[in-house]
Subunit: 357 residues, 2 copies
């Protein structure tokens, strides 16, 4: 029995994708071997890799002058690799601080660059509006986190940087709605939310930003070296890449990012509606910055939280515990979470409130 | 039908391990989710991670004063991360050159350190004997590659470095035979040969070598930061870690590294015997340096090679093509290759020779 799994990441994958992976796990395409047992340089795996990139390009309408890199190390590695690849020593870089993950990226960038804070959430739960942003005017790039998974804050706009390359950590929002990639210099994302298993990181980078790496950048993490070798400079995480390819195919079949974006909007509306309509549940994020991917809420009676989690688990609703640094609850509604899961969660929440008035 | 898969890596995994992974791929331990869909910080995954490390420590008899790190980036990332973590700028480091992978490690180390060549294979196919090694006497560490997968060369001894920490790239030999870990300062290995799927890298490092990273080392690749967080500084490749844990359990059940080492010796002896007994096949490696993991051979009639590969494939013997830089054939005999696979390969080779005298 599959649960409805609201885990923030590693997160739910489409059941159809897991079923296909299961069915061919010991004998992939009649090869007599698992896809994870064959050489990354074999023609059959190269075809998987190429097809996955082509499907991603189609899904996101990625312009031709962008490279797509399949890397390792997670978004956290990119916190270091972005400055190492894009900014010379002592350069100024602009960062917007909207919470936990922005701050992690900023802390790492400070080890390599002069960080100018172009804006922050000011202690409130929300994304700063464009007219509050103050860019330095001399930055190599400007970085932000379009969706903060821990607090559940999402930007509803793309910051205008007046020609400075915009860099975004899209780990928790990539592929969740239509996006104009041409507005960005670089997009990076850990796979474990909307793409596939953990251990794979996508980097989508405009070609003029490739080839600027500092001398000390490890070669396997130099964007140019990776791009020149179609992400096969060394052995890539082949199983995760294959799974990402299956997820991209599933997404195309589901109607692409426009259709999934509409479904994601409905799912979030339904859950925020259930929260706002109740006396027991509360979401603290400014309404115009509420995340469609990660819906956070607290219970007015904090003492009920362990009971809530336990009863939810028994009802087949898992992964709802909030991040350890903020507590409370969090329901992550990534692409693979079906509408039925959110309906069931809302019904459970109403029922739980009725039983604990 | 499972083939006998002699791929050099990603390589064959134990069929029992794949069967278990398949059976629980959609519902792991009754959780209603795949192991790849749950948080790396959930108690059930932390237990998987902890158990895997404990089993590896038991299998390799890893002393208490060594850390075991579960990293990303492959052995190729370690080519950079070893000097970044162990050697200050302009330090001298000793490297022994015995082929393709040593040379890759050396090229990367030269970007960070003064590399002193302590020995080389001198153009021959073999490992240099101890009395030909010339260490600098002032190195932060000495690096070698105990098994060169491409040429099929293996050291039959552990170099004596007189107190200088010995660093070894054991990607293709880890867990293949008993090993005295205490002779090493650091051992690293990509998982995709004897451990699990690609995308996971093991680092076994003595505790006095941890905490020396250069300022520019990306934080997620700083051995101390990783050790301090039990390899969960950021999201690890959870599925690969889980698979490694299953492989370790399988290896314990198979009798551990002593039993598997004996089986590996038999497998290699059988195949080298078949080569040496024939007129068609030839192995060029010095007999005292022949690899037990990667058996290379050429056909005296090079024109027959495509036919050999095709007929082998039809007989269910796959992954036998040699590395593109050297050509010829290569049969990789990692732990998960059963004796029956090698018997079948030897019988096929004899039959092929008879049909093509």
């Amino acid at each position: 029995m599959r649960a409805f799994n609201f885990s923030p990441g590693p997160a739910v994958l489409p059941t159809e994708v897991l079923e296909q992976a299961r069915d061919e796990l010991l004998d992939w395409r009649g090869s007599g071997a698992s896809v994870m047992e064959i050489s990354h340089r074999s023609p059959s795996f190269v075809e998987v890799a190429t097809r996955a990139e082509a499907d991603l390009r189609e899904l996101m309408s990625i312009p031709k002058n962008y490279h797509v890199l399949f890397m390792q190390g997670g978004a956290s590695a990119q916190f270091s690799l972005v400055p190492l690849n894009l900014a010379p020593p002592r350069a100024t870089v602009d960062y917007i601080d909207t919470g936990h993950w922005s701050q992690k990226a900023i802390a790492e960038a400070r080890r390599y660059c002069e960080v100018h804070l172009a804006g922050d959430a000011g202690g409130s739960y929300g994304a700063p509006p464009q007219d509050e942003l103050r860019f330095s005017g001399r930055a190599c790039y400007a970085h932000y986190t379009p969706n903060e998974t821990i607090s559940g804050v999402e930007y509803r706009y793309i910051p205008e940087t007046h020609g400075v390359p915009l860099v975004a950590d899209m780990s928790s929002s990539i592929l969740s709605q239509p996006l104009d990639v041409s507005k960005f210099g670089l997009i990076y994302a850990g796979a474990q939310k909307n793409i596939g298993p953990s251990g794979l990181t996508l980097v989508i980078v405009r070609d003029d930003l490739v080839g600027r790496a500092r001398a000390e950048t490890p070669r396997v993490f130099d964007y140019k070296a990776i791009a020149d070798q179609q992400s096969m400079l060394n052995t890539p995480p082949t199983f995760a890449w294959y799974m990402a390819g299956l997820v991209f195919k599933w997404l195309k079949k589901a109607g692409g990012v426009r259709a999934i974006g509409e479904r994601n909007r409905l799912k979030a509306e339904m859950l925020y509606g259930a929260i706002d309509d109740s006396r027991l549940y509360k979401n603290s994020v400014a309404k115009d910055s509420r995340s469609r991917m990660n819906v956070t809420f607290t219970l007015s009676d904090v003492g009920l939280e362990p009971l809530f989690l336990e009863a939810a688990g028994e009802a087949g609703l898992t992964g709802l515990k909030g991040h350890r640094v903020v507590g409370g609850m969090r329901a992550s509604l990534y692409n693979a979470m079906p509408i039925e899961g959110v309906e069931k969660l809302c019904a459970f929440m109403r029922d739980f409130e009725r039983r604990h008035p």
